[in-house]
């Protein structure tokens, strides 16, 4: 299994980055072995559509689930279309802790966008 979590720095003991589209890094993690790989977010400096771009990255990685702090309408729509489950990291601070809570089934599943979009065309 492969899950993706937004991280402030490129390692598993990093704090979770609460932003999905604008998070600094994506950590691709196998929750069973805790093997991980860090990728810089390609959309961190995008003028708009960062959520879509981030969702595209997640889909290309064939991840089954993604953990972050916030999913706007574009990210939510794209991740849902890709069949990727979305979870909020809640009160955990590090990627490692968030993954433990995910494995324990303690993270909140996201069933709707968690906030408004920020960068419409214009």
């Amino acid at each position: 299994m492969k899950i993706i979590i937004t991280a402030a720095s490129p390692n598993i003991d990093s704090e979770v980055d609460p932003r999905f589209g604008r998070g600094a890094y994506f950590l691709v993690v196998d929750p069973d072995t805790l093997e991980w790989q860090a990728h810089p977010n390609p959309g961190v400096g995008a003028p708009g559509g960062a959520g879509t771009l981030a969702a595209q990255f997640v889909a290309n990685q064939h991840a089954e689930a993604v953990i972050s702090g916030d999913f706007g309408p574009n990210a939510y729509g794209a991740l849902q279309a890709a069949g990727v489950a979305m979870y909020l990291f809640g009160t955990n601070t590090t990627v490692r802790e968030a993954i433990e809570r995910f494995k324990a089934g303690q993270l909140e599943h996201v069933g709707a966008p968690t906030g408004p979009g920020r960068h419409p065309r214009g």
């Binding site: 559509g49 879509t52 279309a81 069949g83 065309r121």
Partner: protein, 285 residues
């Protein structure tokens, strides 16, 4: 001759100046000028020039529609989209219309020709005769639509001047894309400002935009006498002509609040506006 009236800061008197200039020229020029209200998010020049709209047209952009039967999910469209308005998610290609700028890259570059374009309405453009024989046209962006540029661009394309007809464009406030579009193609930009630190701050930005577009600039100082000398010092330092000063005066504020133009409040300004126009014409020739 195309003149764009812009400002940077909002509320400095762009529309008052643009409509007063147009009315002053209408009395002298044949044909009278064509006026374009390019402030499509909040057009209000009609309050001064009282047009009768006779023609109306929907405007918008073309957005992609993907034929899933032909799509191989190769991802080329998502790769070329500058705005991330299209995403290929496994076996589904998703279009996000609210991010699309209608550039057409995805359609042009799809190797399977699986994308066609459908119109997405963003607003309306309208035109008709106004006071003093002026030809008036404006764009109105639909509520909730975030992108003004396509409406302004299509307004400019649709409301074309007759041979020799002067065009006056009233720009939106600010210095972002809609203002660039309202300036683009103009022969001269008049920046209306007020003598305050805020007016000066935005004037500097607006001058940079016009210079980037290689369009000569002149300044009109409105509410002259109300602030400080910063705007004057800036204009002198960078060599910008101050074309006119409109004093900070209660009679003008009251008249504008009643829907009157500067040339209706103080008819002597008409000659001044015509003189500015001649000054601009001379400067350009």
């Amino acid at each position: 001759m195309k003149i764009t009236i812009a400002s940077g800061k909002g509320g400095t008197g762009k529309t008052m100046i643009a409509t007063s200039l147009t009315l002053s020229l209408a009395a002298e020029l044949t044909p009278p000028p064509l006026f374009l209200d390019c402030d499509v998010e909040a057009p209000n020049a009609h309050l001064f020039l009282k047009p009768t709209f006779e023609q109306r047209q929907d405007v918008g952009i073309l957005i992609p529609r993907v034929d899933e039967a032909k799509c191989t999910h190769c991802g080329k469209c998502a790769e070329v989209c500058q705005y991330h308005a299209i995403a290929v998610l496994g076996i589904k290609t998703l279009v996000l219309p609210q991010l699309c700028h209608g550039c057409g890259s995805c359609t042009a570059l799809c190797p399977e020709a699986a994308i066609r374009e459908i119109p997405d309405r963003m607003g309306v453009i309208e035109r008709g005769p106004a006071a003093a024989g002026i030809s008036f046209a404006r764009g109105v962006l639909d509520v909730g639509e975030p992108m003004a540029v396509p409406v302004i661009r299509q307004l400019k394309k649709w409301a074309v001047p007759q041979p020799g007809q002067v065009v006056v464009r009233d720009a939106p406030p600010g210095t972002s894309c809609p203002v660039v579009e309202a300036m683009r193609g103009a022969d001269y930009v008049v920046l209306v400002t007020e003598p305050t630190p805020f007016g000066l701050h935005d004037l500097r930005l607006a001058v940079q935009v016009a210079r980037e577009l290689n369009i000569p600039v002149g300044v009109i100082i409105n509410r002259d006498g109300s602030g400080d000398a910063g705007v004057d010092e800036f204009c002198a330092a960078v060599g910008l002509p101050v074309l006119m000063r409109v004093p900070f005066e209660r009679a003008i504020a009251e008249g504008v609040a009643q829907g009157k133009n500067l040339v209706e409040i103080h008819p002597e300004y008409a000659a001044h506006f015509r003189q500015i126009f001649n000054q601009i014409t001379t400067a350009l020739s």
